[in-house]
């Protein structure tokens, strides 16, 4: 019976997330529909690139999310290591596949955009290389969870890796400033304010927020699933002990 007491806190989380999920999901749906309508139909074509600029509305939010998810993973890992909060390492574990998918999408859409725009699918400049490294760090993190059998050991090892890998995040962000890169410099998160055409902002911003709420929805869903899987495993152990 004592095994089940450790799920007291997570039970509260399960209840809370069950109430939250439909709302976040609905918000996500609304933002994505609005955002893509804006992106595909309302926003203006670029004066240089024409209609191909619309790949940006998929590429930029994916890239942001790849980094944001890693940041939250590292943050959750720090909480897991320092305060040993039972939900923190689950949050980190469930975030990783979402993050690697966003990063992969960012790389793929970037490649698709690069070929018509700059004549090349890939170039080894600082931004692309550091995002590719982020992709590999994600894979290594997932690999640790998959190969270490003991759950508590896996969570602590993965937490250390997540924190070590977080040095890559400032490198990615400032790579376009520190080096001469083919990738364009920052036009949104700048001290002087965005330099982008204001007609593109509703689409871009709503899609960035939409992707973020999408991440939260999927994260809550996966965390629920993970908690249920752990509960089942604990019950199976209990049953085999009797």
């Amino acid at each position: 019976m004592s095994n089940l007491h450790q799920f007291a806190n997570p039970t509260r989380f399960l209840k809370m997330s069950s109430t939250l999920l439909p709302w976040v999901g609905a918000l996500t749906g609304f933002l994505l529909v609005y955002g893509f309508w804006q992106a595909l139909f309302v926003s203006p074509p670029d004066y240089q690139m024409g209609e191909a600029v619309r790949i940006m509305y998929v590429h930029v939010p994916s890239a942001y999310m790849g980094m944001l998810v890693y940041g939250s993973m590292a943050f959750a890992s720090a909480i897991a290591l320092i305060w040993k909060h039972p939900l923190a390492d689950i949050a980190a574990k469930c975030s990783a596949p979402i993050g690697v998918a966003f990063t992969g999408l960012a790389l793929a859409t970037g490649m698709l955009w690069g070929q018509p725009m700059w004549g090349t699918f890939w170039v080894w400049d600082a931004r692309l290389t550091s995002v590719l490294l982020l992709f590999f760090i994600y894979l290594g993190y997932i690999g640790l969870w998959l190969t270490i059998e003991d759950t508590s050991r896996a969570s602590r090892a993965a937490a250390i890796l997540a924190l070590v890998g977080s040095v890559n995040l400032p490198i990615i962000h400032y790579s376009v400033e520190w080096w001469n890169t083919l990738h364009q410099p920052a036009s949104l998160l700048r001290l002087d304010g965005p330099t982008i055409d204001p007609g593109m902002l509703p689409a871009l911003l709503s899609l960035i927020v939409g992707y973020t709420t999408f991440y939260i929805t999927i994260l809550l869903w996966r965390m629920q699933k993970e908690l249920i899987v752990r509960k089942i495993r604990a019950l199976q152990i209990l049953r085999s002990n009797q």
Binding site: L139, G140, L144, T147, I148, R153, I160
Partner: protein, 221 residues
């Protein structure tokens, strides 16, 4: 300090007498580098263009393969547990073992690098830069590799996962190491690259032992 010295001496002695690990590392180094002229063709023009990069990649792979012996033997026979209980900080144990690892892996690789340069028709003006950059670079690789080795310590056949974990973090040392050598040869500004290599070394020395000892403690419970 006495304990530190003892650990360094023990590890170096074990590496040199038991199984001749330094010898295998150098053999692997030589063989890997030999593959490139065989694959790319013997044209000295092409070889000298890629020489510094090839030597660095060979060193990277050799260090990667040698990371297995950093903690695993001690973990398997219980020495690591005794070291954890000893009156010396775990971080110092890590630094001692990494130092011994570097002396028996990185240092020989760096000293032999000019010979590899001869095999690849490298411009001789780059030899001093190659040795210095490589000594700094391999120290960084040993330090960062120790984190990966400690994280994958308990995993059976964790060698592949170790590579996946550690190679992304090797990349900065690789990039700036090659740039340090190439910029010396071509006469352009070489000093910033060496400064960044030195910075990488200092940051790794300060932070890698912390992560490594935390990872070791996970596996020692």
């Amino acid at each position: 300090m006495n304990a530190f010295k003892l650990i360094v001496e023990k590890d170096i002695r074990l590496a040199l007498t038991q199984g001749g690990s330094t010898m295998w590392v150098i053999m692997f180094y030589l063989l890997t580098i030999t593959l490139f002229p065989l694959a790319v063709g013997p044209d000295p023009e092409i070889l000298s263009r890629i020489a510094s990069g090839v030597i660095w990649v060979a060193v990277l792979l050799a260090v990667l393969l040698s990371l297995d012996r950093l903690f695993k033997p001690d973990f398997e026979d219980g020495t690591l547990e005794l070291l954890a209980l000893a009156p010396i900080r775990m971080e110092l144990v890590v630094i001692a073992k990494v130092l011994a690892h570097w002396v028996t892996t990185g240092l020989p690789l760096s000293i032999m690098a000019p010979i590899m340069g001869v095999l690849l028709s490298m411009d001789p003006n780059g030899y001093p830069a190659l040795v210095v950059a490589m000594m700094l670079g391999t120290a960084v690789l040993s330090l960062i590799g120790a984190i990966g080795a400690a994280l994958t310590l308990g995993i059976r056949r964790g060698g592949f996962l170790l590579s996946l974990l550690v190679l992304p973090f090797f990349v900065p040392a690789l990039i700036f190491g090659v740039m340090a050598v190439d910029s010396t040869i071509s006469g352009t500004m070489a000093r910033p690259n060496f400064m960044i290599l030195l910075a990488l070394f200092l940051v790794s020395t300060a932070l890698a032992p912390l992560a490594t000892s935390a990872a070791l403690k996970i596996n020692l419970e």
